[in-house]
């Protein structure tokens, strides 16, 4: 439905609508309306109820995005071609890194700031609108920090690759997530939930710090020049994968020994991170139950009786077929999480694993809100199989996180290919050796045990 004000000129309601040929103009509100709706003090856009009238910083985001894209094309080509004479100078590796970073940051940032300034001046002149101080700081912070993330990421990728083509291909690992992030930011601005932007600034700062640290480690003469001899060796990669997968084990006992002694040790930090994320997911879900309330009458705990078991059986539960279905669903989820995790430094995988825990937490919270005993629900419907499934999720998430971070946390002296192949083998060891057996066990429990315990605990029969 077209909710634009009628007419092809400034409307009576005070909205700026200058003509059909300018799609951007009609969403600009008149300043006096904004002023009055924000309580007379702060000039700010209207919120979601009137979102079609929001003076949105979309074009500002556009300026930032295209500036960043352009700089990335520039960066990868220029870095390699102009590097060697600089390597021969007395500059230290750290100075070279900082210099290259500054050289890559300043032009796109200047262009982005210029674009933002021109757009805002346009808004001021045309509709007398100025952004709130908070929004302005957020836009400038996001622009700067995103550029830093992209530059530091580009330096990491550029340092790890041996050709401009490879660097350009890998650049999509930065450009696509950042493009999606910018679109997300635009949506957040559209809905006027500006406080979320601070969290994004914080997250991006953390990512920038991680990438800068990696860049400082990778950006040294020895690593940069030694990588010129890195080659695409599929057979060698296959051998390396197999060798890392077996890890010198001569029989399954030795293999499992190595898995528990070495692999667990290597992923202990990702295990901690994943556990914390899942825990946070549960509690966030639990807290959200108070915000998005479910009606208490939908919780009928006495419905878990033998009839319910019959219904479950009709759906394939309590049969071996149900085990296969649940196992396959879990495996699919983990494969999807792995693929997405590889492209996003493991971040999307963690989010995917977090969601079921958040939903569980939400239902637990909703039961509490309804005055019911959430622990009973958890004990009866979740715990019997979650006691195995959650550790499997944590281990799997940790292995994916390790794999996703492989590109930016290579062992010293390893090429990207070597480091990634080794991490992939580690992921395979953990997934096949531990996660898969745990998922099989969890699926069996979920199909055969959990429904019976639910009936036993909740209906007492």
């Amino acid at each position: 439905m077209d909710r634009r004000p009628p007419g092809n000129q400034r409307s009576v309601s005070g909205l700026a609508y200058s003509g059909a040929d300018s799609s951007a103009d009609f969403i600009l509100p008149a300043t006096d309306e904004l002023h009055s709706q924000s309580g007379g003090g702060l000039r700010r856009p209207l919120r979601c109820a009137n979102h079609w009238r929001t003076p949105d910083p979309f074009p500002v985001n556009g300026c930032r995005f295209f500036s960043n894209l352009d700089f990335n094309r520039y960066r990868f080509r220029e870095l390699r071609q102009t590097l060697e004479p600089l390597l021969a100078t007395p500059l230290s590796d750290g100075q070279l890194y900082l210099g290259k970073t500054a050289a890559s940051l300043v032009p796109p940032l200047a262009a982005a700031y210029l674009g933002i300034t021109v757009y805002l001046i346009g808004l001021l002149v045309k509709v007398q609108w100025v952004p709130s101080l908070q929004l302005l700081i957020q836009i400038l912070s996001l622009t700067t920090i995103q550029a830093m993330v992209m530059v530091s990421g580009a330096i990491v990728i550029s340092s790890l690759t041996t050709s401009v083509r490879a660097a350009n291909l890998l650049a999509s690992f930065i450009i696509i997530p950042v493009a999606m992030l910018i679109m997300g930011e635009s949506m957040i601005m559209f809905w006027g939930r500006y406080h979320i932007l601070w969290w994004i600034v914080l997250a991006l700062m953390l990512i920038a710090i991680v990438l800068t640290r990696m860049g400082l480690r990778l950006f040294n003469r020895e690593e940069l020049l030694a990588r010129e001899l890195d080659v695409l060796d599929l057979r060698g990669s296959g051998r390396r994968f197999w060798s890392s997968f077996l890890s010198d084990a001569r029989n399954p006992v030795e293999w499992y020994g190595g898995l528990f002694q070495k692999s667990f040790k290597r992923i202990r930090f990702p295990i901690l991170i994943t556990s914390a994320i899942l825990l946070i997911g549960f509690f966030v879900g639990y807290r959200q139950a108070a915000v998005f309330k479910l009606p208490a009458e939908i919780f009928q705990m006495n419905a878990f009786d033998k009839d319910w078991l019959m219904i479950l059986r009709e759906f394939g539960m309590l049969t071996p077929n149900g085990v296969v279905k649940i196992l396959w669903a879990n495996i699919r989820a983990l494969i999807l999480a792995t693929i997405l995790g590889v492209f996003t430094f493991g971040v999307v995988a963690e989010i995917l694993l977090l969601v079921p825990l958040a939903i569980t937490g939400y239902f637990a919270g909703s039961l509490t809100q309804a005055g019911l005993d959430a622990s009973q629900y958890l004990t009866a419907l979740v715990l019997p199989h979650a006691i195995i499934e959650v550790p499997a999720a944590i281990l799997s998430g940790a292995a994916i996180l390790q794999l996703g971070m492989a590109a930016i946390s290579l062992p010293k002296g390893s090429s990207l290919g070597e480091g990634w192949t080794t991490s992939l083998a580690e992921w395979a060891r953990i997934s096949i050796g531990i996660v898969l057996p745990l998922l099989i066990a969890a699926a069996i429990l979920e199909v055969f045990l959990t429904p019976r315990i639910a009936v036993w605990v909740l209906s007492g029969s």
Binding site: Q81, E84, P85, L86, L87, T89, P90, L225
Partner: protein, 316 residues
């Protein structure tokens, strides 16, 4: 004392040995040509000497500084001309050189003075208004050489200095390199161009598969590899009866109607003797000259010997 003293340098990348037990000594004012095919290990050797790469084994001193433990000092006394000149296309020559001068810690007045001198010397002064992206390949290479000379380094390491240059520019750059040694600079020129190596170098080190397989002056290399110098005697009459005037001990290589080629290790003794006896016998001599043998012969000889040794080793 040598400006460049490299002892048993070795560089491995994983399992690949790029440089294997390379020892080089270059005195001030001396030019050494590091001659070898692509992938022989020339650039890796140069990079180790410039303290850009660390050797896996061995050590080297550049102007008295250790390449592993005094890296910044080494880089401040080395002028490196890299194979990829790495110019910034959007800059002009003055801006570019000014930037590199400041990176080397020179003060601005000295930078300006050296920029003017060097741009004049390399005939680039008239192009200072152009952006470097508009320079021809030869001009770019010359500017890269100017950059390498800007801080007046004691040691110059030149990686393929005339590659991609037209003959005239290449000739000019070669002339400049020869002049550069006058300031007591030790110079290493990496090249796979035999003519260039012979024209520039006091000594030639032939490198192959990361190893130095020959290292001596061009003349001595020729003598060692293709035997004693060959002389050609041309007469104004038939050779008949003239051969008996040649002293014993010389080796006749080839002969024609009125000429003969022979080899001797003592040309300074044998040649006057021959001229004397021919003059005494009334046989008119047109010329007596040394037959120039190209370095190509030497190079191919060295390489074929190296190949046959490899074959023996492989065959064991």
């Amino acid at each position: 004392m040598s400006s460049i003293e490299a002892n048993s340098l070795c560089k491995k990348f994983g399992t690949f040995t790029a440089v294997d037990d390379v020892s080089l000594h270059v005195k001030p004012g001396e030019i050494l040509a590091l001659l070898g095919p692509n992938g022989a290990g020339k650039t890796t050797t140069i990079r180790m000497l410039a303290s850009i790469l660390k050797p896996t084994h061995g050590n080297a001193k550049i102007a008295g500084y250790d390449i592993e433990h005094e890296q910044e000092a080494v880089r401040s006394v080395v002028g490196l001309l890299t194979e990829q000149h790495g110019l910034y296309n959007r800059m002009r020559a003055g801006e570019y050189l000014d930037f590199f001068g400041s990176v080397y810690g020179l003060d601005s007045s000295m930078i300006q003075q050296r920029i003017n001198t060097l741009l004049d010397e390399y005939k680039l002064q008239e192009f200072t208004n152009l952006r470097l992206g508009q320079y021809s390949k030869g001009m770019r290479q010359k500017l890269a050489l100017v950059r390498a000379l800007l801080h007046e380094p004691q040691v110059l390491l030149l990686d393929e200095p005339t590659s991609a240059m037209d003959p005239e520019s290449a000739h000019h750059v070669r002339g400049s390199i020869v002049e550069l040694r006058s300031a007591d600079r030790a110079i290493i020129v990496c090249t796979h161009n035999l003519f260039e190596a012979e024209a520039l170098a006091d000594r030639i080190a032939i490198i192959r598969r990361g190893k130095i397989i020959a290292n001596d002056s061009p003349l001595e290399l020729k003598r060692m590899m293709v035997g004693d110098p060959v002389m050609e005697l041309r007469l104004a009459c038939s050779l008949d009866g003239a051969l008996e005037h040649l002293p014993e001990g010389i080796v006749e290589i080839a002969a024609g109607d009125n000429w003969v080629r022979y080899s001797t290790s003592q040309a300074d003794v044998v040649n006057p003797e021959i001229l004397y006896s021919l003059a005494k016998a009334g046989i008119p001599v047109v010329t007596l000259s040394r037959v120039e043998r190209s370095l190509e012969e030497v190079y191919l000889q060295v390489v074929s010997e190296d190949d046959s040794q490899e074959g023996t080793i492989d065959g064991r």
